[in-house]
Symmetry: C2
Subunit: 118 residues, 2 copies
DNA sequence: ATAACGTATGAACAGATGAGCATATGTTGA
DNA sequence: TCAACATATGCTCATCTGTTCATACGTTAT
């Protein structure tokens, strides 16, 4: 078997596969954005923040206290989460409450949990 | 409002929230594994590899050709994907075919896509 | 055996990233 | 207006990560 692609080829690829798959690739920008999104989930601090926000909206110092981390560290990471539109916030006096932006967060994390627990 | 937590507290947290959320936190190891998993999705090269494997199982040099990257770079990334049990492989003579390990990959990426396209 | 091939791997280096520190911003009450 | 407070942010550094290069490994055909 595999009697193809043997004449003057530089790479011993499988052309019939390549030709079939090539047109179905999403554009680069989309895949880049997707990787950027998952990168945000790919940090323990941020995952922990998202997890506590599953339960309740919360202010920065509540989160810092729960995770035993500095206010600064949490604030930096909340910025990343906000930019990725995974969390939103609302101000109430001096306090700023953060909460999950939408249900995709739960679904994505839920699927991740299923995978690691299989 | 917010007449709580004002007596002798070092941190102006919201104790009733903290006490409610604390017991519901998954253990650290689990959250660490979860972050590790998403870290794997958080790279353009790896996302692109997973995407081409959506269509068909494929050998290393097919993938390298499709993504216009070196065999070595692809091989390194396949190793990461395999360690995360997102892909598996089978040998056929000199060729090693890689394929998606399970359906979680599609679900997770699908949810990510929904999020960025909303 | 040995050459050719497809793939894997270790070392090295450049670029990315998370946390700490100091400080700035914005809000409230006196 | 000013002090206290909650949060945000710029800079810096140590660490992590992805790619390249060179080379090793495992398989096949001669």
């Amino acid at each position: 078997m595999r009697e193809h692609a043997e004449c003057c080829e530089e790479l011993r690829v499988h052309p019939e596969i390549l030709e079939r798959v090539k047109p179905d690739m999403p554009d680069e920008e989309c895949l880049y954005d997707l990787a950027e999104l998952f990168k945000v989930f790919g940090d323990t601090t941020r995952i922990r923040i998202l997890y506590v926000l599953f339960e309740s909206e919360m202010c920065v110092c509540d989160i810092a206290e729960l995770l035993s981390m500095s206010q600064s560290a949490i604030s930096h990471q909340l910025r990343v989460l906000k930019q990725a539109r995974l969390v939103r916030n609302r101000r109430e006096g001096k306090t700023i409450y953060y909460f999950l932006a939408d249900e995709h967060v739960r679904t994505i994390i839920g699927q991740g949990m299923e995978h690691i627990q299989e």
